[in-house]
Amino acid sequence: MQATWAGCAPHPRQRVYFANHTSNGDFVLIWTVLPPALRDQTRPVAAADYWLTSPLRSFIGRDVFNAVLIDRRPDARTEDPVAQMIAAADAGASLIIFPEGQRNMTGEGLLPFKSGLYHFARQRPDIDLVPVWIANLNRVMPKGEIVPIPLICTVTFGEPLHLQAGEDKDTFLARATAALIATQGAT
């Protein structure tokens, strides 16, 4: 595992790390490569419909990683995910989010971003949005395989991003997507 801080330094300031999502281990990997000081204040935003389905998962998600558990199902949920993220941020936490909303199984590029990142940025425009590209983790253990192979995974942190004055949702999400893709090339 290697971390490259290509666009920003590992300063202990409040940030939202937004990353590509190819494997269930993604947030563990980001969490691991963060320096301990940053790690303690960083909480992953994860799907409650996955992490609350068994006591073990619940323990890992809630107690080990202190995840902000959101519900991906609009009709079934009682709390608004963006409101949960804002509450966590206001309590001082940095966040790890996967704006694609689900694992990308296509093997390349990015899925269209969900709007959560935009809504968060609109309400807390001062917080750094740091694109994070995770490479190779899906090659270590592709879906359906049982033996992981010890390839070197890299996590690249790109240049922080902010919502610009008057920027609309689509423009902003397109810019965030481009920033994440650019981070991939900066490895």
């Binding site: 290697q2 190779n136 592709p142 390839l151 070197i152």
Partner: protein, 314 residues
């Protein structure tokens, strides 16, 4: 402490002395020309890495065959990781990759440890070569079949087969040299690394004429010739450690340097093909693990076979 260990410690202490001197020079240079000078920064990072290597070599060689086998198995593992990370493999290759790590490496080093030359000399180049593509073919994905299989085969040859010939030196039986085989490893490593340093220094001082500008812009004829001559002198002067006469030791050093040089060229070509500058970032200032091993990789099997053929009874 027997004769071999005593000689080995002498060598390691000598190397330690050289490194102390090198570290001092590095510190003085950094002080005078500024620590930010990239050449000096690179030099000091190299010196630090050599410290680590000398200490590790000392540890492993002290523990004899088991220590060397384990050390080089880990080298193979780290190198294979780097190599396969850079390859463009697919999901259909997963089982072949897993087998490379968890079957081929242990089997090869087990065979080295049991000294079964007849099998470890062909296990990877013949058996892994023929069987690996079967695993891949059975998954039915034939796109870029040959180049995908080739990447795995190259990774195994370079990172496992070639590297494993370093500890294999311990299995040779040279009359009058019993119990001293670890010194052959020390000879190989010191000549290779000494030649690397010498080529680097000669190249920095007098390098003009590039040998292969498209592949490796830092390789010059001046650096290569100066480095090769230096390595031959180092090799000849270390002949007291080996079963070779000074002349033979110098000739061996020349073969080692030549193969190391060619190995470096081939590994550069593979890196260019992949569009990367270094294999990884494992050792500060040395790029990846393979970047440090590449000169040993090609010379180890040749040095092993020459020594085995002309000096060993098995």
């Amino acid at each position: 402490m027997n004769g071999a260990t005593a000689d080995l410690w002498m060598l390691l202490l000598g190397l330690g002395g050289v490194l102390v001197a090198a570290s001092l020079i590095g510190a003085i240079l950094a002080d005078r020309k500024g620590a930010d000078n990239p050449v000096i920064e690179n030099l000091n990072a190299r010196i630090k890495a050599w410290w680590v290597m000398v200490i590790l070599m000392g540890l492993a060689l002290t523990f004899g065959k088991a220590g060397a086998s384990v050390l080089f198995a880990f080298c193979s593992f780290a190198a294979l990781r780097e190599f396969l990370t850079l390859t463009d493999t697919r999901r259909a290759d997963h089982m072949a990759l897993a087998a490379s790590f968890f079957v081929v490496i242990p089997v090869q080093y087990y065979l080295i440890w049991t000294e079964w030359y007849g099998l470890y000399s062909i296990f990877i180049p013949v058996y892994a070569f023929l069987l690996m593509p079967i695993i891949v073919a059975l998954r039915g994905d034939t796109g870029r079949f040959l180049s995908r299989v080739a990447e795995v085969q190259w990774a195994l040859m370079v990172c496992v087969f070639c590297v494993s010939h370093v500890p294999a030196l311990l299995s040779l039986q040279i009359p009058g040299f019993e119990g001293r085989n670890v010194l052959l490893i020390a000879f190989l490593v010191v000549v290779v690394q000494g030649s690397d340093v010498a080529q680097y220094i000669w190249g920095k001082l007098f390098g003009r004429t590039k040998i292969a500008p498209a592949l490796s812009p830092s390789k010059t004829w001046e650096g290569f010739i100066g480095g090769a001559l230096t390595a031959i002198v180092i090799g000849a002067s270390l002949s007291f450690l080996t079963p070779f006469t000074p002349l033979q030791a110098g000739a061996m050093a020349f073969v080692i340097v030549l193969m190391g040089f060619f190995g470096g060229l081939v590994m550069s070509a593979i890196k260019r093909d992949r569009g990367v500058k270094d294999w990884g970032q494992m050792i500060a200032g040395h790029g990846g693990f393979i970047d440090r091993l590449d000169s040993v990789i090609f010379s180890a099997p040749i040095f092993f076979h020459l020594t085995r053929f002309y000096w060993s009874t098995v």
